[in-house]
Amino acid sequence: MKDDIDKIRKETEEIKVECKEKQCFAKLVEVNNQLKQEMLKRKETERTIHSRNCILELFGKVSSRREYLDNLVKYLKEWSECRCVGIRILNEEGKIPYESYVGFSHDFWESESLLSIREDRCACIRVITGSPQPEDAIAMTEGGSFRLDNSIEFSSCLTEKQKSSFRYKCVDSGFLSIAIVPIRYRNRIVASIHFADENEGMAPLEFVEFVESLTPIIGDGLHKFNIEEKIQRSNELLMRIFDSTHFGVAYLDTDFNFIRVNQAYAQLDRQQTTDNFIGKNHFELYPDEENEAIFKKVVETGKPYSAYAKPFVYPKNPERGTTYWDLSLQPVKDNSGEVEGVVLCLVDVTERKRAEEELTKTQKELSETKRLSDIGMLAATIAHELRNPLGVIRIAAYNIKRKAQNPLLDSHLANIEKKIAECDQIINNLLFYSRIRSPAYEYVQIYDVINECIDSQRKRFGKIKVSIAKKTDFLKRTFIEADPLQMRELFDNILSNAFEAIAEKKGKIEVKSRIDAKEGNIEIAVSDNGAGIEKSDLKRIFEPFFTTKSRGTGLGLSVCYHIVNLHSGKIDVESAKEIGTTFTVTLPLKRK
């Protein structure tokens, strides 16, 4: 009995142990299951974190929206079981083109990219507009995605009316598995991800939910690249405007180092490119103390500066001459109002300035012409008014001589005659001056004209001993197109001046000539070794009525100047006191 009891006890114990073991095992299984679950969850979380990280890393890795989308599609393809993945972006025109995709055929991509949310009807449009219809309900997830394990099965459940809400492009292309996941940015759907595969059940709910969990950061990324692209486009536009303006623009820091210049600015200084300026100092390139003071004042006071037709000489290229610029200097201030740079705007107005000068010159010439015509009228009046009494004086003197028949009066009467002749000459000069007008062109043998002038002046200044050296023989066969009378007047005046300059002493006059065939000009220089002209007078000798002589109207050289000008030539003078003077006349061989 005892043995039995012991046996039973033992068995009971064994049973107890067995039970405990079984309980333990069940617990173990349960724990094990929990662990498995947790591991799966953790894996899921890790996967999500990894995927998020991949997407986030893209922000730093890629530089354009296109690149971002391409990489995104690549990752999504890796993470899904589907053969085809694409991303549609809702654009401003209401179209939803695939901006990046893998797996889809080109034809599929082309026809699908034309879809419009305004005109077309299909699940993909309703996902991206966030407006699912009852017929979609069975396929919709909580996150707003549309998901099918078997598209044919799905469509077979639809009524005919419902069927019209779909385009069947995916079904026709043979895709059984379809998933469309919306991408949101701040609660607004901006794009969608499409998964498609010919096999059944390739886009399970868990996967779609996983993708849904990623879409907020995808949306952020899209937004970031959209903004970047917009900024870049507007930057490019600004740069295009900056570079295509015709005036030079430069942005300088407060020490006047170039930060940026536009094309026009670079071209202002020949052979420079925009890059050549960057980092260089404005006043090292173009030293100008006056301008530097102006620039500094703008930085110090924060007040803009502008100037019109400011003259400037390139210190390194003085041969460019004086150029004129409209200049504006605008301070650029930071948020606190401190000047952080200056914008320099330059417009080359040299041409305009020259035109203005030309205009002023023409106006001056015009008023001079007007003055001349006034003088002409005056001269005509004076001529008449004076010539009449002079005429009477002359006849009266003739009568005195005739009647008195007294040799004692002869010298006095001769003096009267002489002075009458001088008065007449002054009147003639005035008249000639007032009569200068457009040349009557003829072919003139200039050699003969010069010789005639020399002869007549020699006669006039007979008493003065002058040797004349002529180096004009080669001109004998040269004809120029000119007004013969004016040529005569021109050289008469120049030679007469030469004779007068050497008045008292023994002198030498040299006439030289040269033909510049290239320019089509003839140059005739008349030099004397006479008194010379004071430097201060040189500028004025061509002005009418300017004279340093005790006699004369001061019109001779003015007449010369006008004659030469009318022939489109020029007259230059070089002179040194007590050494002599050279007048050089340059005339075109052919009428211009």
Partner: protein
């Protein structure tokens, strides 16, 4: 001789009379015009600018009505030389044409001998 300058007329007529010419001097334009119409002169010494009448107009009429009368124009307005060269800016075209009708013209102050020679030549 028709000239509004009385001294001119006086001085000149003395010379001409001494040279043996029969001279009438008139210094009033209208009176001169009448006399010229009435009488036949061998030669007229005519000033261009006479108050009341135009010397050139008289020249035209004389040449039309009495073509035998020679006319010498005495002028202070232009240089005879430059006129001959085709230069003149103070005459209008019409005046220029009229001036061509004259037998001779001479600019004041003129050389008396030269004028006398010309007169002799014209009414030989």
């Amino acid at each position: 001789m028709l000239d509004d300058d009385q001294e001119m007329c006086k001085e000149m007529s003395e010379i001409l009379k001494d040279e043996g010419y029969c001279v009438t001097t008139i210094f009033d334009g209208l009176e001169g015009k009448k006399l010229i119409e009435k009488n036949s002169y061998d030669l007229l010494l005519l000033d261009v600018k006479i108050p009341g009448v135009n010397g050139l107009q008289i020249l035209k009429e004389v040449k039309e009505k009495k073509p035998k009368t020679k006319v010498i124009i005495l002028t202070a307005r232009l240089n005879a030389d430059s006129f001959l060269k085709g230069e003149n800016v103070f005459l209008e075209d019409r005046e220029e044409t009229l001036l061509q009708l004259a037998d001779f013209f001479i600019t004041k102050p003129f050389d008396v001998e030269a004028l006398l020679d010309k007169i002799k030549e014209l009414i030989r």
